[in-house]
Amino acid sequence: MGQHIITLYDWLAKLSNSDLIAVIVVAVLPLIFLVVYALVAILGELKISAFIQERLGPMRTGPWGIIQPVAEVVKLLQKEDITPEPANKTLFNLAPFLMFTAAYAGFAVIPFSSHFVPAGINLGLFYIFAIGSLAVIGIVMGGWASNNKYSLLGALRSVSQIVSYEIPAAIVILTVVVLANSMNLQVINEKQSGWFWNWFVFGGPGSAWKILVIPFTVVMMLLYLVASLAETNRTPFDIPEGESELVAGYHTEYSGMKFAMFFFAEYANMFIVAALVTILFFGGWNSPFGSFMSGPFWGVFWFIIKSFFFVFVQIWLRWTLPRLRVDQLMGVSWKFMVPIAFVCFFAVGIWVMFM
């Protein structure tokens, strides 16, 4: 980064004269955000599904049922915590926490604003990608330790799906790295500053000739959106928890607070994915209108608005599309998405070379 920016961390360290306090505040802020966001997202899921299915949704708790998520959380908290007799207790209890840790660890490099990113490392993109593989272990652990055939089958399906869809996602991420010349999410954001036509979905900053590359970047954005849906096990890729076949997949045996942890982890992953789409293709915390409404605080506003839009897209798709069959699922990834991603990578590489 060219000029030195006084980040939230620097400001807190100066204010409190202690690095430790600044570290703790910076690390805990995303957690507070995550809890609030999860409540909003649960309400969104309930209300959007109701709207799509022409129902009213929850209406009794509070005006228009807006306190419903709080009621849901309280319900989950006071439910009986059951561990099945034949389950492996240690691993069964460890799995939900591992899942949530993996999901929350991703928040470490998400830049919420030009002045606030918990850890502004140069390898931000690579970090998110690497830490995502921890979730796979959590799923296998939960599925195996439950000692239930549905759980195990769900875990196997989930892992094979995540491993396959990581490949097109990785190629798309590489393409963005080629475009932005950096893996630092903050730098990627800065490259897209200015008006909305500087976003990478519209080919990034450049002359009018970038019209040649726009088709490829748009396709890349769609590919990443699809691959990320598969990685978070959301419909239409939710065969790991397909009710009609597997009861509830790898978290069949979980109840109470431990189920809530899985639930939380899923919502956290949804946000990370939405945030990545925002950062990689839609300018992150940049205002779409040049310097109008831009700045550190407006940055938070724009980032969260854009990310919430993609969370909305995920919920919208969940209630619109039917789920894929198991045998179609791998075919979509390996036979369609990977070749298309390679073509886009090649095209963008050539474009970057000659521009």
Binding site: L91, F126, A130, S133, L134, V140
Partner: protein, 168 residues
């Protein structure tokens, strides 16, 4: 002690304890899952050594790839054969020999550690590791890089050839 030293000792403890579980656990699934914490701790030590790229590669390859493969192997074979795989003591002779060799190796390492004159120099923390790595991979080590990519390509093609449906 400053924060970094405390963090180092925490992760060192994690590595040692989880590695001990890997070796001494009777249940092979515990060993496999305990390996997760060992790999993770090693990645953390890499970060403290200013090798962040190596740390993330460690997480991606070892946890996301190799560990998943190990767990799948153990899990599927256990369920298919119906025999609970347990690691046990194979024989007194093997155990004795291994313990002896390990002890000798440890003593040699300890003597080396105390005898060698270590030239310790505090390194400048690197701001950017990925750019130098990228530059050297595509200039000085281009041959090794290309050779590795060709080997991986051959491995992928070979895997597809083995896995594809035979025409009968």
């Amino acid at each position: 002690m400053d924060l970094v030293t405390i963090i180092f000792y925490i992760f060192a403890a994690v590595i040692v304890i989880s590695a001990a579980v890997v070796v001494f656990s009777k249940n092979i699934m515990y060993s496999a899952f305990s390996l997760l914490f060992t790999f993770f701790g090693v990645a953390a030590v890499y970060v403290l050594l200013n090798a962040d790229f190596l740390a993330l590669t460690q997480i991606l390859i070892y946890i996301g790839g190799i560990l998943v493969l190990i767990i799948f192997g153990v899990m599927l074979t256990t369920k298919i054969t119906g025999v609970d795989i347990k690691t046990g003591i194979t024989g007194k002779f093997q155990v004795g020999l291994t313990a002896f060799l390990a002890a000798v190796f440890f003593i040699v390492l300890a003597i080396m550690y105390s005898k060698v004159q270590w030239n310790v120099k505090s390194a400048k923390p690197l701001q950017d590791t990925i750019t130098p790595i990228g530059h050297s991979l595509l200039t000085d080590y281009i041959l090794a890089f290309e050779a590795a990519s060709v080997v991986l390509l051959i491995a992928i093609i070979g895997a597809v050839m083995i896995a594809r449906r035979k025409k009968s």
